[in-house]
């Protein structure tokens, strides 16, 4: 399964979920698949998309929140699994795009590649619902269950590294513009106030 195929399948099942993408390959592929504005595409803070998504999920417990994480990012902040397990947000789905490489720097192999079972790590951290899928048919079949019921759910999407080193364009918004696009999208959708009357 290619990352682009996995994320295109996720996009079809997204529904009303607000999405947070780890920087790099996952964000670029999600942008290519959805051009979604109510997605927050991390520009930095590698490893902390899951924590950002957890904060949003806790702030808006009725809003479905997805984080599209990547294996390189998760490994920079494995402690997020403990925090996620302890907080147990029912509205959070944690998808891991696991290609075994640092894709955007030239598909450099990940540490401990081929030996790490991320779903088992999430399970051991205390996230009760986990899944691992490696092909598109399995992902299509598993998604209804992943999206049903209470979260958190951790789903490891094992995808092939992309040997073409193709440059997938990132979303074209600079940091502050993305902040306002994402925040304004949530204000419109949820009727909440993110920014004050003077815009900050």
């Amino acid at each position: 399964m290619r990352a682009s195929e996995a994320l295109s399948i996720l996009a079809k099942h997204r529904g009303e979920a607000a999405v947070v993408c780890a920087l790099g390959m996952a964000a670029n592929e999600w942008w290519a698949a959805t051009a979604s504005e109510d997605t927050f595409y991390m520009h930095g803070a590698m490893g902390f998309a899951a924590s950002f998504a957890l904060g949003l999920a806790l702030a808006k417990p009725d809003l479905p929140v997805w984080v599209i994480n990547a294996d390189g990012s998760l490994c920079m902040n494995l402690g997020c699994l403990l925090t996620e397990a302890q907080q147990a947000p029912k509205n959070l789905r944690h998808f891991l795009v696991d290609n075994g490489v640092y894709q955007t720097v030239g598909a450099v192999p990940m540490i401990n590649r081929g030996r790490t079972d991320y779903a088992a790590m999430a399970q051991a951290a205390g996230i009760g619902r986990t899944a691992t899928v490696s092909d598109t048919a399995s992902l299509e079949a598993a998604l209804p269950s992943i999206l049903a019921g209470d979260g958190p759910v951790f789903a490891n999407l094992r995808v092939e590294p992309d040997p073409s080193h193709r440059a997938i364009p990132p979303m074209p918004y600079e940091g502050p513009e993305m902040k306002y696009r994402f925040g304004r999208a949530l204000e419109r959708r949820l009727g909440i106030t993110v920014f004050g009357p003077q815009g900050y």
Binding site: M46, S51, P176
Partner: protein
């Protein structure tokens, strides 16, 4: 009123309803107060930068959040503060111990004392050191300044405020 109760009270006045925390011994009593408050969602974390990202995500849910940590933990967050909060202009309000001050006689805190404010100055992150209990009512103003400046703001708690005078 106990000083930690007073800090907690001022955070409530600032509208804080979510706090992500990792203690050092100076802020641990404050975190204990937060943990007992049913009106504040308490999120203990495994690393301080998690607290930064959690508060940043909560911002987009319209929730006022605070990250509570020690000064050593604050220094570990500088990369995330720069590439998440500075890059995207996301405000995050941080309450941190002012370790390494002249009355903090701990050798393993001396670098924090000498370099933390210089690091914050280099990033142009605003901060304010509270030394006296009667000044704690600055917290709601500090929170508004954080929002207005759209960047990290560090409210430091001095030793004599939270630990009393050094022996």
């Amino acid at each position: 009123m106990d000083v930690n109760d007073a800090i907690h009270d001022q955070l409530r006045k600032a509208g804080v309803t979510l706090a992500a925390t990792l203690p050092d011994d100076w802020v641990a009593p404050l975190i204990g107060r937060i943990d007992k408050d049913p009106e504040i969602r308490h999120v203990p974390v495994a690393r301080e930068a998690e607290a930064i990202a959690i508060c940043s995500g909560a911002f987009f849910g319209g929730v006022r959040a605070a990250a509570v940590m020690g000064a050593t933990g604050l220094l570990t967050c500088t990369g995330e503060l720069a590439t998440l909060n500075l890059r995207h202009q996301i405000p995050v309000f941080i309450v941190a111990s002012r370790r390494g001050s002249i009355d903090d006689h701990r050798i393993y805190q001396e670098v924090q004392g000498r370099r933390t404010l210089a690091v914050l100055d280099a990033y142009d992150f605003p901060y304010h050191v509270v030394e006296r209990a009667e000044d704690l009512d600055c917290i709601p103003d500090a929170y508004e300044t954080c929002r207005l400046q759209k960047r990290p703001f560090v409210l430091f708690l001095a030793r004599k405020l939270v630990k009393g005078r050094a022996p």
